[in-house]
Amino acid sequence: MPELLITIITIAVVVGAIPGVCNYLILLERKLSAWMQDRVGPNRVGPLGLLQPLADGVKLLLKEEVIPPHVDRILFLIAPGLSVFTALLAFAVVPFGPVGAEGAPSFLRFIIAPGIDIGLVFIFAVGSLAVYGVVLGGWASNNKYSALGALRASAQVVSYEIPLGMSVLGIALMSGTVNLEEIMQRQISGGFAAWNIWFQPLAALLFFTASLAEANRLPFDLAECEQELVGGWHTEYSALKWALFFLGEYTHMITISFLTSILFLGGWHLPGIAEPDSAYPLAWLVKLLVLMGKAFFFICVMIMLRWTIPRFRFDQLMELAWRVMIPLSLANLLMVMFVRHFELSNWWMLPGSGALFAAWGMISASLREAERRSRPGYVRRKKVDAHHDGHAAGHAAAH
């Protein structure tokens, strides 16, 4: 039974650690946001505000639980739980440390369910269930704002699942497996030059973007945008149920960051420091920290993106998924197939990705121009534009 015991310990550690980590991620988000906006951020509770998450947690626990009388009680109560459940379940196949590293204590396995043959597909399957939390929460609230948020969320998640899945198919083809541990192992044994980011930079971009959309993070948070929908699908939620939704969102962020590091950035490999044959004492700890560091980097990127890119309009959101990301990920997959079939060097994919990106940029720009030209009001529009341009040019010339 030691195997079972190890599994139980790992589950307990992960389930115990993730809420704490999420709590501190919220602090990180507030601090980073503050620094980006030239503020100080929370600094009252404890040194440097480090106890703020604890205070927040206690507040959320002790707050009054409000259940409005007009809601569908069962679904209203299930929805936040579902949202956390699916987010945590996806983490089950994500290796969060050097799996099978020498020297690590045997009770540290760094993955809840090792050797899952369909690792990536499992994550997508569970991830596709994550939308239920949002949809049910929005519907059960029996509130127009919530329902609109839920509608947006379901359309968005269903659309972005496609590029999310297709962008990593290239990696599955290159590695010949969808088992996350094996994908990581392949990059590690190949060294720095075998990191997938060198061959699949476009896929990395598509994957990261699509998973931001799946997690409802800011450039894609139309489901809860405050300016239009009050709070979106969680308008009616309060106290701990509201917190559970955010626990789900932050868990999703952690999973995405780990996945991006594992799929594209070589897992725990770092040239010169964490190599497969590095044998100094506590090497496993360094490897663990390297992987965590990469994940932390992506989390920081996500938080900073929040204050960098403004929110999309809904038609832009759909257009990005269907007209840009899906064709691009298909083309990327075709490129991998081409390279594999003719047994070319993998390095062809690096310029290939760049060329695809540039070509698609030009195609969509010209398509947009053509579409604008075909609009009935084009002439009038053009006149207005010309006027503006002329005005601007004159203005510039005057300076």
Binding site: D117, I118, V121, F124, A125, V126, S128, L129, K144, G165
Partner: protein, 278 residues
């Protein structure tokens, strides 16, 4: 057929009871009040139990028995709740749960990829789209026509006739499938059980609990799916892919073409912006 019916009175009776129970539970057309559910539940449950006992299946290890029955019951009960539920949203949710139960069964048959793909397609996309439409359609509570089962009797009749025929085929027809010569590759691991593994050439055989349970087969692609080469591991993506794009390439391409034509058709008949859509 007659012979089979005489041999399996419990199965037939169970099916009939089950059908009547479901019919009773379905939301009825006339009144807005629901019938008392208990008789229907009892009938359907008795029918399911009789059917399962009558159909019989090989006995497995305790663990897989427990797993099988919990997944199977989840799928069956949620399926029944789906068609008897008076609220369309709940109906869609029960459908999702029934799908998850079925995926659990796939998992038990060591077809994890099939399970994951079903979750992605059905629970993740199709039912979410249903929910989407239902939520759009019912902004103000459910309408009367939403609470009513349409065509209850024909639906129940046809589906149970279909179920009966499928069970009959599975139990009585010898499986005529191209198999490799090695006999042990053909076994599917014994969890679904109404087939009697290893006796493919024998006349219609009743599966009985004391039928010889083959030693756990070496990993292999499920026999129904492929002429497997013995070294492709069971249910792995590699095996499934080899089967789909090797043995069944034509069928896969045909299905793909039909889907492509259907989606082109959908785009063609959808109203365009000039015609007043969005």
């Amino acid at each position: 057929m007659n012979e089979w019916m005489q041999q399996h009175p419990a199965s037939i009776g169970g099916l009939v009871l089950w059908a009547i129970g479901l019919l009773w539970l379905m939301p009825s057309g006339k009144s807005d009040k629901a019938r008392p559910g208990l008789p229907g539940i009892l009938l359907a449950a008795a029918g399911v139990v009789a059917f399962c006992l009558g159909a019989g299946r090989g006995v497995d290890t305790l663990q897989s028995e427990v797993m099988f029955w919990s997944f199977a019951l989840t799928a069956l009960v949620c399926g029944a709740l789906m068609i008897t539920s008076r609220n369309p949203v709940y109906g869609a949710l029960w459908f999702a749960l029934a799908t998850l139960g079925t995926c659990g069964l796939f998992m038990l048959q060591s077809a994890p990829f099939l399970a994951a793909a079903t979750v992605i397609v059905y629970a993740g996309a199709v039912i979410v789209t249903f929910l989407f439409v239902i939520m759009l359609a019912q902004q103000t509570g459910s309408a009367g026509y939403d609470r009513r089962g349409q065509f209850g009797i024909p639906a129940v009749l046809s589906s149970f006739v279909l179920l009966g025929v499928v069970v009959y085929e599975l139990q009585s027809a010898p499986l005529q499938i191209n198999r490799p010569e090695t006999p042990k590759v053909a076994e599917v691991g014994g969890a679904s059980g109404s087939r009697d593994g290893g006796t493919m050439t024998s006349p219609p055989a009743l599966p009985s609990p004391d039928a010889p349970i083959n030693p756990p087969p070496p990993p292999s692609v499920p026999a129904l799916l492929s002429r497997a080469t013995p070294e492709t591991p069971v249910g792995s993506m590699k095996g499934l892919g080899r089967s789909l794009f090797g043995d069944y390439l034509f069928a896969v391409e045909l299905a793909g073409t039909i889907l492509l034509v259907a989606s082109i058709g959908a785009i063609a008949i959808a109203p365009r912006r000039e015609e007043g859509a969005l």
